[in-house]
Amino acid sequence: MSGFTPNEMMTIAASRALKNDDVCFVGIGAPSAACNVARLTHAPDITLIYESGTIGTAPDVLPLSIGDGELCDTAVTTVSVPEMFRYWLQGGRISIGFLGAAQLDKFGNINTTVIGDYAHPKTRLPGGGGAPEIATSSKEIYITMAQSKRGMVEKIDFFTSFGHGDGGDHRQHLGIDTSGPTLLITDLAIWKPDPVTKEFTVVSLHPGVTRQQVQETCGWVVKFADALEETPSPTTLELTTLRDLQARTKAAHEGSGKQKAA
């Protein structure tokens, strides 16, 4: 299949990382698209959970918020928010937490809280929502984001969600027994943490992407694996599934405003 955008490649590469038997806590935005492409292609029985309490949901269009009605309509069950965070997340039932990031460092620490100083921020971002506990209670964390020097930085301004901290065994030192970030999928590459240092390392370049492009859009000095692979191009099925999903979503989100009563 030729003719796809870097963002499409990112979403499809992320979808491939999910398995049919995963129980996935889904962040809104890019993670939500990837999780639903997985469900509509190779992982039809994947359990998708949104923090509004919907367990095993199968939306026809991507939700704008984590609590859109269709998530509840199509879910196996819907539980209260405290039950979601206590029994299902804290209880250890989630295999993959799938997060996006405004700011990310090379150890998979995420900032979605502030740019600048917390008390006097340059930009006040939405904050953590469910992410601080998703990041530490899910068995593994996948992260997906488009690369930019502003987003992928040497030092994040605020630790909204803990990844590997300063690297190495920092998680274990804090008594965190889950694996943390094990995969980063960007619009240019697939990254995995070094087994010892935990620094994200590029293991696969998307088709046509150069090492230089990856470095130019990343704020830290990028490490590349010795055996660098090329990410397989999207298949016709993957690309059609994603585009159909996005077209349905666009129509649904714009539609509600069109025939507004006076």
Partner: protein
């Protein structure tokens, strides 16, 4: 005992300047009509509690009603930032506000502890999180049995909680279904609770026995306000007005545009205007 009241009376009787108030509803069933009534009545120095401040707290903050906000996600869900809240935090406009920020898990546990009559909530959270350093209300306790260090936050006990629900029966029992969120906990944690509903029905006799029903003696006042959660939604009645959430981003970006919108759509309106706002969203529900 519960009273059926017009919304303006229900708000006037139960909300006061300086109160700690929760208007809850997790994306679904946000009590917008009640929030707009509070804005019209012009309360001041409120401590606004809500997991996801959403449009209603952006509006109340923008109107200068908030002294403090307690929250866990100050964004416009799926759209981006809450621009009036940002203006208050970044520029102290229209007034400086105090913020107490938590994670969703922290807020959910704190409401549940409030409903359970406990002074604090204990859970496994905030590990490695920067909020611990900036929020003095996030502390830790050591489990006396295992030695595990756990997070502790004070329980949430609002003076008054407002929620929106599908229906009430004639006795004043209230039914909530769909994404039930945090509303049951927020009502039971509060000293007083006010509920707006889509409709009043004779009784709940034919309903499933395990549905979420808040008995009438847990509620101070009920007001019937069809469409009362717009642009949020009411499961089974009307869909979320996602376009309105997208439009809000532009309205709230500009101080004057915001004031003009509030004047035309809140100050000069009443609770009766909500029904027409959801007409075009009913078939999609």
């Amino acid at each position: 005992m519960v009273k059926f009241l017009p919304l303006n009376d229900a708000v006037a009787e139960n909300l006061h300047d300086g109160d700690a108030v929760a208007f809850e509803g997790f994306t679904h069933l946000i009590p917008t009509a009640a929030a707009h009534e509070a804005i019209r009545q012009g309360f001041r120095d409120l401590t606004l509690i809500r997991m996801t401040p959403d449009l209603i707290y952006d509006q109340m903050i923008g109107m200068g009603m908030a002294k403090k906000i307690i929250f866990s996600y100050v964004g416009n869900p799926g759209v981006g930032l809450l621009r009036r809240a940002r203006d208050a935090i970044e520029n102290s406009f229209p007034r400086a506000i105090e913020i107490e920020e938590h994670s969703h898990a922290g807020m959910a546990n704190a409401y549940e502890a409030g409903a359970a009559g406990l002074p604090c909530a204990v859970f496994r959270g905030y590990r490695g999180a920067g909020l611990v350093a900036v929020n003095p209300n996030i502390k830790s306790v050591t489990c006396p049995f295992t030695g595990e260090v756990l997070a502790a936050v004070p329980s949430i006990r609002p003076d008054v909680t407002f929620i929106h629900a599908q229906k009430a029966d004639k006795k004043g029992n209230v039914l909530v279904e769909g994404i039930v969120g945090i509303q049951k906990e927020a009502v039971l944690a509060a000293k007083r609770a006010v509920v707006t509903v889509e409709e009043l029905v004779d009784n709940f006799d034919d309903l499933h026995p395990n549905l979420t029903v808040l008995p009438r003696w847990t509620i101070a006042a009920i007001s019937v306000v069809p469409g009362g959660s717009h642009p949020s939604y009411t499961h089974g009645y009307y869909a979320r007005d996602n376009a309105a959430y997208l439009e809000w981003d532009e309205i709230a970006a500009d101080r004057e545009k915001f004031q003009a919108w509030m004047q035309a759509n809140v100050i000069e309106r009443t609770a009766d205007d909500f029904a027409a706002r959801v007409e075009h969203l009913r078939s999609a529900a």
